[in-house]
Amino acid sequence: MSKVRSVVNKLHERIDYFIEKCPNMTAAPYNYNYIFKYIIIGDMGVGKSCLLHQFTEKKFMANCPHTIGVEFGTRIIEVDDKKIKLQIWDTAGQERFRAVTRSYYRGAAGALMVYDITRRSTYNHLSSWLTDTRNLTNPSTVIFLIGNKSDLESTREVTYEEAKEFADENGLMFLEASAMTGQNVEEAFLETARKIYQNIQEGRLDLNASESGVQHRPSQPSRTSLSSEATGAKDQCSC
């Protein structure tokens, strides 16, 4: 333990050094205006974790000095010149864990329902997932339907038209994506964020409610100079 503590102390000293030498970078991890909470739901094996991994690791920057305190499933994006921190919660899709994973839905601003286009049973269970989502989240929660593994066209069992019809009937946004090739992965997360931000702008989402899943961080006028100086660090690292 003493060895670990000494290492931790050295790391802290290094971090303090970086903070003093690079004042612009200190604002980087905390320079965001909103925090949106997402949950990813769907049957087991549809590729929920692969989608999350593809989204969070795509913009990885190896030279980022802040390698401590990495949060699982976190990434900062930009919507309408506003920096938004997405916190994405992955869930277990096994049937026997359905009853105990309802606490994940609490405070979620966005829900990504994932199914596998090569397995019809995962599509047939979407109604059940949708019912849980409606019952356990705010009415203002944005629900996005994702058909994963779109690169496996030869083994497709669910057509795009069928899923699109289901999404339109239930008021969901829909895209087919591939965690393997990265197709439409970023678009799904970004479209959800744009929709949530639009709800905030239109007043349909109450920021003061504790269950909204959105945390607002008002920017200070004194920090405009820092933000202008930090223009070079627009690409946010999630490491």
Partner: protein, 696 residues
């Protein structure tokens, strides 16, 4: 975050563990720092107060005054102890602490009533000074303005007083009200930190640090009040959960479908790390530190899953693994810890952030364990009940790994047995391999031998076919000889030479072999006939042989005639005469040669006789002689008489006539007389035969 990463080292002396009333017994946090007796008395006093206040107002106030009077000597004792503790440290620390306390007292006195001030000062004496000192030091280290620090300290004291007021109040207590009180304080402090001008120049990171510090100080100081309060069912829930997890110790990684390798030492070390972090939750006072323990525990689990699956871990694998860790850890006061964090930490911390995510998973794991049944584990309900009640014995790889000495011994024994089995299996495999090779070699040898035998087999087949074939050939050649005469004899000699050359060459073909053997037979017959005829001329006894040889030839012809029709009998007579003529011709030629060389003639006759004796064909001929005469005795008699009469003069006439004219000229007139008679008769008979043949 930096403050959270550096956990403060709290030093609890023995004094802190004893009862606050100073009776000398040890107190527990659940009894508000009192021993069970003092706690009971206090509880009874509160109940009496409630009854009296319900009844009359006057007696209640008087009783309350009495209770205050009772408490005053206890608090006096506590103050004395505090003073003693203060005296022990160095002078500088004494001065600092004294000044700080004075400041606190003055500030408090300015704002509250005198009675309230007395209560607060008495209560504040309960807090251990070293902890408060550390918090003050940390407060100075925060990178916020001094005005902000003062405001933060003010808010800390305010929430402290609110909590103590509620806990010491007379009204009914509800944990949810207490939780709301704390959450509202968090919201208020957050608004102050973000919106108050005193925090204007602070960064967002520093503001978050200030909010974390606020929560940490308040929760650490009030842990004894807020953790598992006596008016909740947390303690009972803890016992239930612990008993439940103990009953479920038979669960293995397979039941949960998680990818933890329970036997792998590396995986087991990571599980041990996760378990130690999970058990360590109870040893921290503030919710942030408890969440940090949860965070570290889950980090170890994710590391474990990455190594097991070789890729990014997914939540489908993570939750079963966390459930497994909780079942094997069975941490103490798990339910109370979960409820403490749920009620009194910042709500936004739980609904977002990595710690919140992991904490939510932990709550899900515990909920799953509490509602567990056989179906959710893939086990039948009967088996589940038997395992739960302990009727059915079980042994899990995890528990066997925990029993280090015995399990290692068993493992070593099993490993040895496995090694023995492997050796035996290797021997069997090598034996099988060698046996296969032997089989292949045996098959090859057998095949080769069979091939060689088959190559020899055609030779065995030849002797069976040759006799009939050779007999036919011999007969054909004999007929040809009778027709050809001298030319046939010359051809026979050539054929024999060619057959000998073929045998020397070594090439064997069936027609060649047949012709060879037929040639040999013909040669033998010709040699035997020549040998037999030649000695007749020189000796009288050979004349007897002369009779014998014609008999042999005649018998053969008789046999043929017997087989054929009686008309061929005349043919036989004609053939006999032809043969005699042929024999005579050969004799003539031979005598001619012999007359040229008289000395050689005698030696030649002797050598020929010897050859006849040694020849197997000659012996065969002798053997063949007896059977033909017996069945043909009657025919032989008649034929012999006619033959003797005809043959004797015939042969005498034929033999000397072409040669003896010269010899008669040299020898005398006796021989000349006889040939004249025989020549005449012979010439006429031959002419007659030819004439007879023509009309036929």
């Amino acid at each position: 975050m930096s403050t959270a990463a550096r956990p403060p080292s709290l030093r609890l002396g023995q004094q802190d563990l004893k009862c606050r009333s100073g009776c000398g017994f040890y107190g527990t946090p659940q009894n508000e720092g009192l021993c069970s007796m003092c706690f009971r008395e206090k509880f009874n006093d509160k109940q009496r107060k409630l009854k009296q206040t319900g009844g009359e107002t006057g007696p209640g106030s008087s009783s309350s005054v009495a209770t205050l009077d009772r408490r005053s000597p206890q608090h006096a004792h506590l103050q004395g102890k505090v003073e003693q503790q203060v005296r022990k440290p160095s002078d500088k620390e004494q001065d600092n602490l004294g000044t700080l306390q004075k400041k606190k007292f003055t500030a408090v006195l300015q704002k509250t009533l005198q009675a309230g001030a007395q209560k607060i000062t008495q209560q504040r004496g309960h807090v251990p000074d070293p902890t408060e000192g550390q918090f003050l030091l940390q407060l100075r280290q925060l990178r916020i303005p001094d005005d902000g620090k003062r405001k933060l300290k003010l808010e800390i004291q305010r929430l402290d007083s609110d909590i103590r007021k509620y806990m010491n109040g007379n009204g009914g207590k509800n944990i949810n009200e207490l939780s709301d009180l704390v959450q509202n304080a968090y919201t208020k402090v957050s608004d102050i930190v973000h919106n108050d001008p005193s925090f204007e120049i602070a960064t967002n990171e520093d503001r978050d640090s200030a909010i974390d510090f606020f929560e940490k100080v308040v929760m650490t100081q009030n842990h004894k009040f807020l953790f598992s309060p006596y008016f909740t069912t947390d303690e009972d829930s803890d016992v239930k959960v612990q008993k439940r997890i103990r009953q479920l110790s038979w669960i293995t990684a397979k039941h949960l479908d998680c990818s933890i390798d329970e036997v792998n030492s590396e995986a087991r070390d990571l599980v041990y790390n996760a378990i130690s972090e999970l058990v360590g939750i109870d040893s921290y006072y503030s919710p942030q530190e408890k969440l940090q323990c949860t965070w570290r525990c889950c980090r170890h689990i994710f590391e474990l899953l990455k190594r097991a699956t070789g890729g990014p871990a997914s939540a489908d694998d993570f939750l079963p693994a966390l459930i497994f860790v909780v079942l094997k850890a069975n941490p103490v006061r798990l339910h109370s810890n979960i409820n403490f964090v749920t009620r009194f930490t910042n709500a936004s911390r739980l609904m977002s952030g990595e710690s919140g995510y992991y904490f939510t998973n932990l709550c899900s794991a515990i909920a799953f364990i509490e509602n567990l049944n056989g179906e959710s584990l893939g086990v039948s309900s009967e088996e589940f009940e038997a395992l739960m009640s302990g009727q059915q014995p079980y042994s899990t790889p995890w528990e066997s790994a925990l029993l280090a000495c015995e399990s290692l011994h068993l493992i070593s024994e099993n490993m040895k047995r496995m090694e023995m089995l492997q050796k035996r299996n290797a021997l069997i495999s090598s034996g099988i391999t060698s046996f296969e090779k032997e089989l292949i070699d045996f098959q090859r040898e057998v095949t080769e031998r069979v091939d060689t035998v088959i190559a020899k087999a055609p030779l065995n087949l030849l002797p069976i076919k040759t006799p009939a074939f050779l007999i036919g050939q011999a007969r054909a050649h004999l007929l040809n000889e009778s027709e050809a005469g001298h030319y046939q004899a010359n051809m026979l000699h050539g054929g024999s030479l060619t057959s000998q050359s073929l045998t020397a060459a070594g090439g064997l073909v069936k027609p060649a072999a047949a012709s060879k053997e037929s040639g040999l037979s013909l040669k033998d017959t010709s040699m035997s006939s020549m040998g037999r005829l030649s000695p007749l001329q020189q000796n009288v006894q050979p004349a007897d042989h002369l009779f014998a040889s014609p008999i042999f030839n005649y018998t053969a012809f008789d046999a043929v005639s017997l087989l054929e029709e009686p008309v061929p009998d005349a043919n036989t007579d004609v053939l006999m005469l032809g043969s005699e003529f042929q024999g005579g011709l050969t004799n003539i030629n031979y005598d001619f040669d012999l007359s040229d060389q008289s000395g050689e003639n005698s030696t030649a006759d002797e050598s020929k006789l010897n050859l006849d004796e040694f020849d197997p064909l000659a012996q065969k001929g002798l053997v063949a002689k007896p059977p033909p005469p017996l069945p043909e005795t009657s025919l032989l008699d008649s034929t012999t008489d006619s033959l003797i009469d005809s043959e004797v003069p015939g042969t005498a006439v034929l033999l000397p006539s072409p040669l003896k004219p010269e010899v008669s000229n040299y020898r005398g007139f006796s021989n000349f007389d006889i040939p004249s008679i025989s020549c005449n008769t012979g010439d006429f008979s031959s002419l007659g035969q030819d004439g007879a043949d023509a009309p036929k």
